[in-house]
Symmetry: C2
Subunit: 241 residues, 2 copies
C-alpha cells in the first residue's frame, strides 16, 4: 500500500471516528447499501467504515480469503474473476458505482472471487459485522440486500446471453456498447486481455476485432483506450453474424 493511500485512509479513519455521520451524509447514499437506513440505524455502526482509494491493478481480496469486509464501489470499476482447475480464467462480473463487492460473505465466510480494480476506484470498506448487525436489527437493510442480489443475478444472466453467445465479433460489439456512454458516444475500454477474459476469447481475437472496428469507423481512437463509438453501427454488427 503506498503512502498516499495510507494518508487517505488516515483521513477516513478520522472521519469515521469523528462521527458516524460520514455514512449518513454520504453523497451517493441513494445508490448505496445503506440507502434506506434511518437516523437511529446509524447508531448501530460500532466499527469504522473506511473510505479507501485503490488504483488500477490493485487487489481487494482473493477467492478463499476470510471475508472480513464488504466494499461499496463509490467510483471506478472492479472486476470479479474466477479460475478453472486447468488455469483458465474468466471475469464473471464488473462492479461500478453503487455495486457491492463481497456480498457473499453474509452467507458464507469466504470470498468467492478475486476482486481487482481495473479503473481507479474509491470504495467504502464496511466490516462484515456492521452489515450483519444492521441486517439483524433493522428491516430497512433487507430490501437493499435483496435488490443487490437480484441485480447480481440479472447481470450474470445478461453477461451469459449477451457476452457469451454468438460470434466473437458480435460479443465484442455488445461489450463495447455496454461500456459506452450513449449520451456522448464516448467509450473507455480495458486492456485487450481483460476484454478477452470477459468474453471468453483470446486477446489476439479481441485485438483484431477492435482494430477492425477502428478501420470500419465503428470506433474512433482518442488515445489511452478512449474511443468515440458509433452505437448504431455496433448494434448492427452485434445483431448479425
Amino acid at each position: 500500500m503506498n503512502v498516499e493511500v495510507q494518508i487517505l485512509e488516515k483521513q477516513a479513519i478520522d472521519k469515521a471516528w469523528s462521527g458516524i455521520s460520514s455514512c449518513e451524509n454520504c453523497g451517493i447514499r441513494h445508490l448505496a447499501l445503506f440507502a434506506d437506513l434511518e437516523h437511529d440505524d446509524f447508531e448501530l455502526i460500532h466499527k469504522p467504515v473506511l473510505e479507501i482509494n485503490k488504483y488500477t491493478g490493485e487487489n481487494l481480496y482473493n477467492e478463499g480469503d476470510d471475508g472480513e469486509f464488504l466494499y461499496t464501489v463509490r467510483s471506478g470499476i472492479v472486476k470479479l474473476t474466477q479460475y478453472l482447475p486447468d488455469g483458465g480464467q474468466r471475469i464473471v462480473r464488473l462492479l461500478r458505482t453503487g455495486d457491492v463487492a463481497g456480498l457473499e460473505v453474509l452467507v458464507n465466510p469466504q470470498y468467492e472471487h478475486f476482486a481487482t480494480v481495473i479503473r481507479d476506484a474509491q470504495l467504502c470498506q464496511i466490516p462484515r459485522d456492521v452489515v450483519e448487525r444492521l441486517n439483524k436489527e433493522t428491516p430497512r437493510l433487507h430490501s437493499q440486500l435483496l435488490t443487490r442480489w437480484h441485480n447480481a443475478v440479472k447481470r450474470a444472466d445478461e453477461w451469459l446471453t449477451e457476452l457469451s453467445t454468438g460470434s466473437s465479433k458480435s460479443r465484442v460489439a455488445r461489450l463495447v456498447i455496454g461500456l459506452s456512454d450513449k449520451s456522448d458516444h464516448s467509450c473507455h475500454l480495458f486492456s485487450r486481455e481483460d476484454l478477452g477474459a470477459i468474453l471468453g476469447v483470446t486477446t489476439e481475437t479481441t485485438s483484431r476485432i477492435i482494430a477492425e472496428f477502428k478501420r470500419d469507423g465503428a470506433l474512433k481512437d482518442q488515445g489511452k483506450n478512449h474511443f468515440w463509438a458509433d452505437i448504431q453501427l455496433l448494434e448492427n454488427i452485434a445483431n448479425q453474424n
Copy 2:
C-alpha cells in the same frame, strides 16, 4: 392442461384449503423456502399454496409475464431461458429440488426468463403475496431468501466459468459430469438441442461430442438418454483441451 393434472390440482386445492399444514408438514421443507418458519408463521399464509405437476415440455411462465407466483421445485428439472434480439437463445440456469423459480418477482413485477420443465416435475405454486407478507412479518424468511439469491449467483458464475469457457469438448464433459450421480455413475442427459443451448454450441457439435464420448467409453448408452459415465475420464477430458 390434461385431465390428470386437473385432478392432481384438485387434490392439491383440497389439501391446501383443508389446512395450511401442507406446507408446515412438507416432506422437503428442510430444502424449501419455508425451511425456517415456525408454527405461528404459517398462520400468515392466507392464500392457497398449490402442489402442481408439470411434464417435460410444459411451460411455467414467460419472460415479461406478470409474476403472480413463485414455484418451488419439489422434483424434476426446470430450465430458465433467455433470448437475444437476433433470436439466439441461451439456457441460463437449471432448477432442481429445493430451488425456486421466479424469485425476481419479489423485486420486480415481471418474470425475467422463460421457465420450461425439462424433466417431469412436481412444484409448489406459491402466490407472490404470500411470500411478500411472510417477508414483511417474519424475519425467518430473510435468511432463506438471501441464501436462494446467493445460490443463484454462485450457480450463474459457475455456469459461466465451467460451461462457457474452453473448448466445446471440455464444456460438454463438464456438463455431463455436473449431470452425473457420482455415487452410481448414472447420468441422465437432455435433448442435444437443450445441451447445446446450455453450452452455447450447436446441436450438431453437441451430438458429435457425445457420440465420441460413447465411442471412447466415457459414456455407455443405457437407452432413453440414460448413460453410465466414467467420471475420471471425463474430468481428464474437461481439463485438457
